[in-house]
Symmetry: C2
Subunit: 78 residues, 2 copies
């Protein structure tokens, strides 16, 4: 049973770098990685906020949130 | 040939969470992961600074730096 991982981003350069560098570096045998573009899926911004995410790029690993560098505030994506 | 990954931290709670959550989630078949406690190895602070790291926890993957959440400023570790 793999642990859920969700990489939230908004297509910004910092986001793309983190996706290509970090999201692809995760152990795919341990984690089922979903990539969510919040600019294209605004209906999921609320979900991200409820997880405690306040900026992108961010990575949810299990129930832990990691904000990675800084691309954009979630509040600016609405 | 594995890519070099270095996780820099300073033993802070945010650092420990990132180490346990994120550093262990990396694909060990792709990355040779080194963990560096900058509080215990102050001689490596300059190395971290030269990589563009300004806070811990931070993860170097190849030549990319990812600042993860925020634990402490590097400048406060000297």
């Amino acid at each position: 049973m793999k642990t859920k991982a969700i990489f939230y981003h908004a297509g910004c350069p910092v986001c793309v770098a983190a996706e290509q560098g970090l999201a692809t570096a995760l152990d795919q045998s341990q984690y089922a990685v979903e990539i969510v573009h919040l600019g294209e899926h605004k209906e999921r911004i609320r979900e991200a906020e409820s997880l405690g995410i306040h900026s992108v790029p961010a990575l949810l690993l299990g129930d832990q949130v990691f904000h990675i560098n800084f691309g954009a505030k979630l509040a600016d994506l609405h």
